[in-house]
Structure formats: C-alpha cells, structure tokens
Amino acid sequence: MAANSKLNRETLDVKGMIQKNKQSKSLSSITEKLIPMLLFLFAIITILTTVGIVLTLLSETIEFFKRVPIWEFFTGTVLKPMSQNPEFGVLPLINGTIISSVIAMLVAGPIGLMAAIYLSEYASDRVRKVLKPMLEILAGIPTIVYGFFAFTFVTPLIRSIWPDVAATNILSPGIVMGIMIIPMIASLSEDAMSSVPKSIREGALGLGATKLETTFKVVMPAALSGIIASFVLGISRAIGETMIVTIASGSSKNFTFDITQSMQTMTAYIVEVSGGEAAAGTTIYYSLYAVAMTLFVFTLIMNLLARYVSRKFREEY
C-alpha cells in the first residue's frame, strides 16, 4: 500500500513531466536547427576553395601582366626568367606540355582502349575480377615513383636503343605518363562499354557477326561519348601531371619539337620557380601565377569538354 502511494506521487507529477519534456524538446529543436547551419558552412568550404584558387591566380596574374604585356607572354617563344634581361614567353612551356601530353596519349589511348575492349567484351567474369583490381594498383602508385622509374629505368633503356636521346628528355616522361594514364582510360572506357545493353550485342551476334565486328560496329559507336570523355580526361591528367616531367625532362626552356631533348612543361616550371629563390614581389614570382593560371584554364576546359561530350552525345537506351 505504502509503495503504491509512493509510486503514484512520483508518476503523477504530470506538470513536472510536461515541463521537462518541453525543455528537452527545445534543446533538441535548437540542435535540429544548428546542425544544418554548421554543415552548410562545411559545404561552403568547397566553394571557398574554388574562389580562393581563382582569386589568387587572377590577382597575381593581373599584377604580372602589368609588368609583362599579355601579348608578349602568349606569343613569346623565349623564356629566360633568370637572365639580366628577362623574357617571359610562355610558348616553350605550352609546347612542352602539349608534346608530353601527345606522347602520353599515343601510349595510353590505344593501349587503354584495347584493355577496355578486352575487359568489357572478351574477358570472363573471373578474369576481369582479377585483372581490374591489378590495373587499379597501377593507378594508385604515386607519381613520384613513376618519376623515379622514368629517370632511372626508362631513360637509360631508351638511350641504349637510341643514343641520340639526351639524359633528360621529353620522350621518356611522356611514355611513363602514358603508362600512368592507361588504367584511367581503361576503366572509364570499360564502364562506358559495359553499360551498353546486352540485347544490342546479342542482336549483332545473332545476325552472325563475330565478337570483333560486334565490338567495333555496335558496342563502340554506342559507347563513343564515354570513350571520348575518358580520352579528354586522360589529356587533362597529362597536362596537370607534375613530378614525372619535373624529374625526367629537366628544365631547359627550349622552344623545339625534338622529342629527344629536354623541354619544360608548365607544371615543371612552377616547381622550379616556387622551389627556387624567387622572392615574393619579383616578376619571376608573379610569372608563377600567370603560368599556373594558364595551366588551370587548360585543364578546366578539358574537364568541361569531357562533361559536355559525355552528356551531349550519350546514347540513351
């Protein structure tokens, strides 16, 4: 009896319970409102990063163009930042970047695409499950390791076959960069090709086409947007690649098309200048930003192009 009345007294304090409930509710409603705001601030950081990149590049680039005319920068074929009468033509760097990217794509394009065809059209599920992760290991190796490989293995190998090649040259890092990009092109193209519906493939095979004919005349045209997008992303990757060319291609700023010689890319120039003794406020220091801006615009165009191609020309099934 006594226990029962005690229980009643405690549980029947309804007023108190309501009060308590209200308090905890208002506390939780505050968190409910605060959390999204906090998370929103986190999300804003990604926007701030972009704004930060564009603003720093732009402001310092403008400062650079006050000292060096924009026309001279984009048409000059002589780059001599350290000399008494410095000249800042960016064409040698653009030339080096394009040549190394072309070499890389000549390696990565065909090999990556053929690997994609094999993985998507010919390989059995079991073989694919083994090969694909192994290719991904290749993609996970740091670029500095590829740089070491290019400098200490590929360059001596090329020179033993072709003695004209200089100790630092654009050919070797171009090839190694291509090897680095193979997994990217293989994996993206394979995704594009394996998303082509089976029924279309079987239609072609049923008409008596061989697997090869089905691949070239049916699957690849259907997956073309994805394949092109993977190539464009590969080019963008090659343009932005830094360590391989910095190590293996040296720092000569020649404006040449001779792939056996040393050339400098935009990325390698940035490493050389920022790691060097360029003090803040000098023209060399500002040239860093002008080159970086050019690089940024190049890769941005490539990335936008890749997205445009894969959206615009996608075949829907």
């Binding site: 998370l39 990063t49 740091p142 941005l300």
Partner: protein, 294 residues
C-alpha cells in the same frame, strides 16, 4: 538456284574468325602490358633498394652521406601531416556529404556545389600547391610547416572524400530512416543514430583511399617549399618538416651527382609503397568486414 555460295562464305568466315582471334590476343596483350610494367617497376625498385633498408636507415636522421642517411624524419613528417589531413577531411568531407544528401534542397544552389566539387577534383594538384603557398604559407604567415602542408593536402583530397561519403549515404536504404522517423525520431537523431552508423564503413573506406593519395602527393609540397635537408625530427604540427615523397624527389634529382642516392630513393619508395599497401589493405578490410549489404 543457289542463293548462298557456301564456298565463298566459308572462306570469308575463316578470315573473319581469324581476325577476331588475332585481335583478341592483341587486346589481352594490351591489358597485360600495364601489369608487366607494374611488375618491372616494383622489381626495379626492390632490386635497387636491396641492402639499403636496415634499422639505421629506418630510424636514422637525414644526412648528405648516403651510407649514414636515415628517413625517420621524413616518416614522422608524413605521419604528422596525415594527423592533420585525416581529421580535417573526415569532418569537412562527411559534413558536406550529409548536408548535400540530406539537408540541401534539390535546386540551383545544391547543383552549383555539386558541379563545383567535380570541377575541383579535376584541378591539378600543383595548383592546390599554389593556393597553399599563397594562403597558408604567405598570407597566414605559417611558413612551410606541417600544418600548412596538411591543410593544402586536405583541400586537395576533400572532393574525393565528399563524393565517397555521398555514395555511402545514398547506399543506405530509405526504409531505415523512415522506420526511425516513424518511431518519432527527429532528423538529426535519425542521421546520427541510423544513417551515419550504416554509412560509416563506406565513408571510411573512401577516406582511407583518399588519404593514401595524399601520402604520395609531391607536387603541392614542392610548391610550398620543403628544404632538401632537414635534420631535426618534427615534434608537432608547427614544426618545419620533410616527407617521404619529398625525400624521394630530392634523392632522385641528385642521383646524377651521387649514384648511391638512387638506392636511397628506391629504399624510400619501398617504405612508401609498404605504407600505402597497409593503408589500402585496411580500407579493403573495413569494406569487407563492416559493410552491410542492404
């Protein structure tokens, strides 16, 4: 009347099938090419490093003398830097993913952030280096310390972490959160108690893979300006430092002057690759062990 010239057809069939088979082996060869290079690369590095990895090398201080050089300082620098990168990217990455997937209204603003994230993922790492140099090293006057390097690398891998976390959240089935709402839970309670625990293994896997990308990054660090020879060990995030990839870079560059530096670079690469292998194994372990399939 004969409609089909059997002889002609079988002749052409033969060449068509032969073409198919020849190209099939060519495609296989192309696939194997990458793997062969991988084997050659690892073989070369291991052969070059044989005899150079010993206790002295792993625990010693940097030195210009190849025989006495050790990489403990670089290992510590890398570890300290990751102690900056990991919490920063986890908090910012998962937070942003939760906001984009669960709070943001599907509209213009959300799609701007989303597009922006995929654009950031395509920006070359060296441009992040310039951002780090300008903002952290110069404007905030940190100098080239571990914190500056760590924050720069954090910004670099943030897009990868966000996208992985978003995919992990999307993989959590809707009935789980609906059940939680049905029990009277609020939105944040549902996220905290239902969605996050279910998505966490996927998020961690993505974050660890991104972290292993950050460990190997060299270009941003070269821009920030890491000196070639730093002898004292770093003791905190405000110390100057060097990192494993930076040491590989300097030793490779100078290997044309001192041949033994190539061996040191190879030995450092082995250490770096072992570290990456351990991290990736951890990621795969987490994925297989804790990932629930719904």
């Amino acid at each position: 009347m004969k409609y089909i010239d059997t002889e002609q057809v079988s002749k052409r069939m033969g060449t068509r099938i032969a073409k198919n088979n020849i190209l099939k082996s060519l495609f296989l060869a192309a696939t194997l090419f990458g793997l062969i290079v991988l084997v050659v690369l690892i073989y070369r590095v291991v052969v070059d490093s044989v005899g150079w990895i010993d206790w002295n090398f792993l625990t010693g201080k940097l030195s210009t003398s190849a025989e006495r050089a050790g990489i403990m300082g670089a290992i510590l620098g890398t570890v300290w830097m990751m102690l900056v990168v990991a919490p920063v990217t986890l908090i910012l990455g998962i937070g942003t993913a939760i906001y984009l997937e669960l709070y943001a209204k599907k509209g213009r603003f959300q799609s701007i952030i989303q597009t922006n994230i995929s654009n950031l993922a395509g920006v070359p790492s060296i441009v992040y280096g310039i951002l780090g140099l300008t903002i952290f090293v110069r404007a905030m006057e940190m100098g080239n310390i571990i914190l500056a390097g760590g924050l720069t690398l954090s910004l670099l891998i943030l897009p990868i972490v966000i996208v992985a976390a978003q995919e992990a959240i999307r993989a959590v089935p809707g009935y789980l959160s609906e059940a939680s709402y049905g029990m009277g839970a609020t939105k944040w309670q549902t996220i905290k108690n239902v969605i996050l625990p279910a998505a966490l293994p996927g998020m961690l896997t993505g974050a660890i893979l991104a972290l292993s990308r950050a460990i190997g990054e060299t270009a941003p660090l070269t821009v920030i300006g890491i000196p070639a020879l730093i002898i004292p060990f770093p003791e905190g995030i405000f110390d100057k430092f060097t990192a494993l990839p930076m040491q590989i870079y300097y030793w490779t560059l100078d290997s044309s002057l001192v041949a033994e530096y190539a061996n040191l670079a190879a030995a450092t690469i082995v250490v770096l690759l072992v570290l990456l292998f351990v991290l990736n194994s951890a990621a795969i372990f987490i994925r297989n062990k804790f990932q629930q399939r719904f």
